[in-house]
């Protein structure tokens, strides 16, 4: 039913995007300013970081989305516009620049910033880059790609995705770009992710879909347990697909949720795989939990354990660290029922049953754990609920990247 397509945020009808280098970053090549503009006013919603220290752009975006509508997204990288003087004024200034160059009213703009915390952000480079940014807007795949590049910080690859699905006999599309591979432990929201869709859905149902989805997508992702100050996940729905507007729960809402989850869970995998310094994606799948929340807590504790992450880097099947993490997670579980299996394209390696170690081949262990994607399958054998969490290994490069990020 769901079909992956190209085009990112430009795949849905009625959206154009672009990204340019305007000069916030000293690096003269890296793009640092992105813009997405919808042809018409969209239903829009967002979820944000729960960190008490919030980036100034979040305050402005929350105000602009209070009426459930938006028409553009502007994002800079290289400076988080957080914990500094005049941050709100700068964020509002960015919205006014969008109005000046595109005609979209400043109050219909979603604004976000990402980069170093605590440094003054100047409007000057943004103002000087707006002309080429706006004049280069387009609806092709490369335009989404330019925007995806412009929001990257320590990301090594740009992240976009899009799917086609059907609602009420009409073909709909949903696409996204996102960034964020450090200071990543979303809590009710995450990093920067911008979703566009041409499905028709009311602002209230769109907001609800986002809020429900993050429980099993972005909130189940962690690179380093550090919940960012600037996490922002926003969606705009143009309605141009022509489907009957989703205004309540039902089959169409469920289909939309499934499409949205396809986008967000694929993005979680991309983000975790590109985690700062990471050499592999770790996907932890818990089943047999007493409740959905127990399953989530257990899965997230495993991918958050620094010790387990270092063991995964060293291809060491140190399952004792999995049990240790489950034990301190706070999940309601019975240690004597736990089964653990490491799995990858190279094979399956059961390592623990009923809370006790079982013999395994160290040779097979090295093979299984040397793959680029490693699954940790955990059966709590204690109920009917499951959850999946995404993380990565802890490497020398994580330390290197974060030892001198600012200077």
């Amino acid at each position: 039913m769901l079909k992956e397509i190209v085009g990112g945020v430009c795949a849905p009808q009625g959206f154009r995007a672009n990204g340019v280098h305007c000069g916030i970053r000293k690096n003269k090549i890296k793009k640092d300013l992105a813009l997405i503009v919808a042809d018409k006013r969209c239903a829009a919603a967002g979820v944000y970081t729960t960190n008490l220290v919030k980036g100034a752009p979040i305050l402005v975006t929350q105000k602009n989305l209070a009426d459930g509508h938006a028409r553009a997204v502007i994002v800079n990288s290289g400076n988080a516009n957080t914990c500094n003087e005049g941050g709100v004024e700068i964020a509002e200034g960015m919205c006014r620049l969008v109005e000046e160059y595109t005609g979209v009213p400043a109050g219909d703009v979603i604004v976000a910033s990402t980069g170093v915390i605590g440094q003054k952000l100047s409007l000057d480079p943004i103002a000087s880059g707006m002309k080429s940014l706006a004049s280069g807007l387009g609806g092709a795949a490369e335009h989404s790609g330019a925007a995806a590049e412009a929001i990257m910080t320590t990301d090594t690859v740009k992240k976009e995705i899009a799917f086609e699905f059907e609602l009420g006999g009409k073909t709909c599309r949903i696409g996204a770009i996102c960034k964020g591979v450090g200071m990543i432990c979303p809590n009710m929201a995450t990093l920067l992710m911008f979703v566009t869709t041409d499905a028709a859905i009311s602002p209230a149902m769109l907001a609800r879909a986002l809020k429900e989805d993050v429980k099993d997508s972005l909130n189940m992702l962690s690179v380093d347990r550090d919940t960012s100050t600037n996490d922002t996940f926003c969606a705009m729905a143009s309605g141009l697909a022509g489907n009957p507007e989703i205004v309540a729960e039902g089959e169409d809402y469920d289909k939309f949720r499934a499409a949205l989850h396809a986008v967000t869970s694929a993005m979680c995998r991309k983000l975790a795989r590109d985690g700062e310094g990471a050499t592999k994606l770790i996907e932890c799948r818990v089943k047999g939990a007493k409740t959905a929340e127990d399953a989530r807590i257990a899965a997230k504790a495993v991918i958050n354990s620094s010790l387990l992450k270092a063991a995964m880097f060293g291809c060491d099947a140190n399952w004792g660290r999995v049990l240790c993490a489950l034990g301190y997670s706070g999940a309601n579980l019975d240690v004597d029922r736990i089964a653990v299996c490491f799995r990858s394209a190279a094979g399956e390696l059961p390592v623990c049953e009923k809370g006790r170690g079982i013999d395994f081949s160290e040779e097979l262990a090295k093979k299984v754990l040397s793959e680029e994607t490693v699954y940790i399958d955990i059966d709590l054998n204690d109920g009917g609920f499951g959850a999946t969490a995404w993380g990565c290994d802890l490497t020398y490069d994580y330390v290197k990247i974060n030892g001198d990020y600012r200077t």
Copy 2:
């Protein structure tokens, strides 16, 4: 009033100790079996890990301490005796060996194990090492040192301390040995720490002193946020100092608590400084919090942040990561009141006031952060409570040590 003295667990009257290599570890030199024996039965108490996955020795120690008394401690390193078959029987076997070789009844023995999780522990090397372990028991400083060495795992230095203090006109002594530099995020208990004292104190008041103390000592320590399965902190009080037995709150109890806290907080500094791969000790002092718990939560979040820890390794005054950690800590605080200052023997570096960055010299920052001990002073300017937490930097060597610890 408190005077640091030599002798570790042998400093108080009535305690002998020893440590030997018995063969649990393949490394033929490293000591792996420790014993502490009291001349008379002691009031004794312990606190333990809150991890649901508990090492088998903890179950045996809890049973043996149920009557509030003990006379010996036996500890092996190299194997955690956790998540394996027959762990409780092995731990009980260790207690019986102590009875056989020292005459201390098995039911009066505190037993602990530390090392790899999930591997079968054999009694054979322990049985074969008991004769030299018991015959070499002594009350000199080197005997405490041998025991302190024998409980080390990835620790690079042995950890012991002792103080002299006064109760009811009598000179009392308190001493300790401890280990643990990875899988360290104690929660209501920690790692392995054994305290001896010749002060007279009832089992109930000793238990209370331990429970109260860990809130501001061991529970404020974290190397990697991984709460171990084997954390054990036990104390034995011989009463040989001859002071009037402490049986209730009052001046003497407060003096004893102060002496105990001198021991535990000094040990926290030693443990954090020797954290796996660490190049420096980070001490975070929070003041101006609304409650003691808010201060503890805030301080611990800062020393737990992987991003801040990596910045400390790189001598980067990235104070935005301090604010970020405070923001997601869950502590009740007002961002716009926060002041942050980095401090060390090389000077003071105020970096943030009222939640905003202030100008500082990058040159001075490098100097301040290049020292072996770095203080992060945080004033929440929001109340009268404070707390101190101890941690370390995150380095390449942490990743190296934990990438191939097991194999």
